[in-house]
Structure formats: structure tokens, C-alpha cells
């Protein structure tokens, strides 16, 4: 119910082995279908993305990737993330700071929305099924085919209020 703290890149994501399996097989079948190739770079980037904490920017992921292989370029990470977004494995987000961020799709992680602290920039996740239900209602009301949503609460977190 509550959210777990995932500010920045301090907490490692906890996805199950089963998620990883489905993730790989979906990606593989998409790549097969499109005639795309599996390269060292792509495997590394995709792997680190899966294990990264949610909400990584291209720059951040590139830094991670370069620890393992310093030759990899920005454009490759950029194109690989686009690829993941294309086949529905990743969502492209932007929290208003002008840089694109990517996170694992709900089906490989767990669906969640965000509380964002306007003081420290910390991001906490939350889940609220009753809101999801109301969203479906709204979509129905508008005869709108709802595919995804973005729900962000901005304010000051407990820690920052105290200071």
C-alpha cells in the first residue's frame, strides 16, 4: 500500500526473476518481428535499465553503462530506450525538469504513481486502486480509450517540512 522510497538512484529496484524472463521474451519477439539485432551494447543497456531504479534519464543510464563499457555513446542509449518505449517495455516520462526519463512498464514492475518533493526533488511512489477505478470511470464517461496515465503529487515531503 504505502510507497517505497526511490529517490534518485539510491534504492535498487526489486523485480522478480519472472518479470525479467517475460521482459526478455517480449523484447526478443519484438526484435525478431522487426528484424532487429541483439548487440553487446543493446544487451548491456537493456540489462542495466531493467535493474536500474525507476525514473532514469538517458544521461544517468549512460553513466551506469559506461562503468562497464566506456566506449558506448549517448546516441546508442538514446536509441535503445526509444526502442524499449516503442515496444511498450518502458514508459517515457518527464517530471518537468526538461530531461526525459524512462521507467519500466507496469507489467514488468508494479504500477505506481509519484509523490515529488519540490524541496529536495525526492520521488516516492504510491498506489491507490480507488483512484485507478475513478480514472476508468472518467474515461468511460468520455468514451476515451485509456492507455496509460501520469499522476504526480507535488509538495514538500515529511523530511523537508521538518527542517
Amino acid at each position: 500500500m504505502g510507497g517505497r522510497r526511490v529517490t534518485g538512484r539510491t534504492v535498487s529496484a526489486l523485480h522478480s526473476a519472472a518479470d525479467l524472463k517475460r521482459f526478455h521474451s517480449l523484447l526478443q519477439s519484438y526484435m525478431d518481428k522487426k528484424g532487429l539485432r541483439s548487440t553487446d551494447q543493446r544487451r548491456l543497456i537493456v540489462d542495466l535499465f531493467f535493474h536500474a531504479n525507476g525514473h532514469v534519464s538517458i544521461e544517468e543510464l549512460l553513466a551506469d553503462v559506461r562503468v562497464r563499457d566506456a566506449r558506448i555513446g549517448y546516441a546508442t542509449v538514446y536509441r535503445t530506450l526509444k526502442l524499449l518505449a516503442e515496444c511498450g517495455i518502458a514508459y517515457e516520462r518527464s517530471f518537468g525538469d526538461g530531461v526525459a526519463r524512462y521507467e519500466l512498464a507496469d507489467e514488468f514492475s508494479h504500477h505506481h504513481d509519484h509523490l515529488i518533493c519540490i524541496e529536495c526533488g525526492g520521488i516516492t511512489e504510491f498506489q491507490e486502486p480507488r483512484i485507478e477505478q475513478l480514472q476508468d470511470e472518467i474515461a468511460k464517461r468520455h468514451r476515451f480509450d485509456l492507455r496509460r496515465h501520469k499522476h504526480e503529487l507535488y509538495g514538500v515531503c515529511a523530511k523537508c517540512s521538518k527542517r
Copy 2:
């Protein structure tokens, strides 16, 4: 209750005269306090912003503004919108298409969230008090001082589904 269609720039916003009055007086007092000046350009931009449909980009507002005064530059609109955002009269948003958009703060308009069509880009507004209430609950649960939120539903609108 339902939302009204405000796609792009086709429907004119309907704010009350009282809103306009409060809007001007808040802006005026902010400018007085900061020693800022009232210029022809600023008055024109601010005025057109108030009467514009929600969600205007700098580029769009600039186009409107230039109908009245062709000499006005991008930077002036940019700086004026920043000013409005600074003093809380406007919100800066971004719907992921890489351009910043501005809309009137809730207190001068009416609070609403957005349904965004991923086919045609159309934006429809919606309101749902029960969601607002649940948000407050979530914030409380996290001892989070909620200041504002962003709730966007992405999908395919009725019109586009039909095609």
C-alpha cells in the same frame, strides 16, 4: 462535471469578470512589490494569456500577440510567462511533447486535469472531486504537504477511435 473540449485553440476560455479583477490586482501587487513596470507589451501578453484557452505554448501565445503587435519578440513572451508563473498566476506544464505550456492557476480559472489523445493530440479537461479527496488522503498518509498535482490520462479519444 464533465469536461469541455479545449483542444488546441478552438474554444475560448470562459473566466468571469471577477476572476479577471483578482487576476489583475494580484499581478499588480506583485509587480509593485518587486518594483516591476507595466509596459504595453506586458499588458497585451498578460491579457491575451488570460483570455487564451488553457495550455498555451510560448510559440502559440506569441502568434496571438503578434496579431496585435508584430514587433513583440519571443523573449518578451517568455519572460512575461515566467513572471506569471513566478507569482503563482500561471502554471508551467509540459505534456511530454517537449514544449512548455502555461495555464491559468486554479484560483483564476477552475481546477481541472487532462485527458490527452495520443492520436490527435487533443486535450480535454476533466474534474473529479473524489480523486482530489483520495489525493489528500495519500498525502496525509505520507505526511506530505501537498501543493499541487498533475493528473493526465493518455489514450485515444472518441473521435479518433471511430476513424
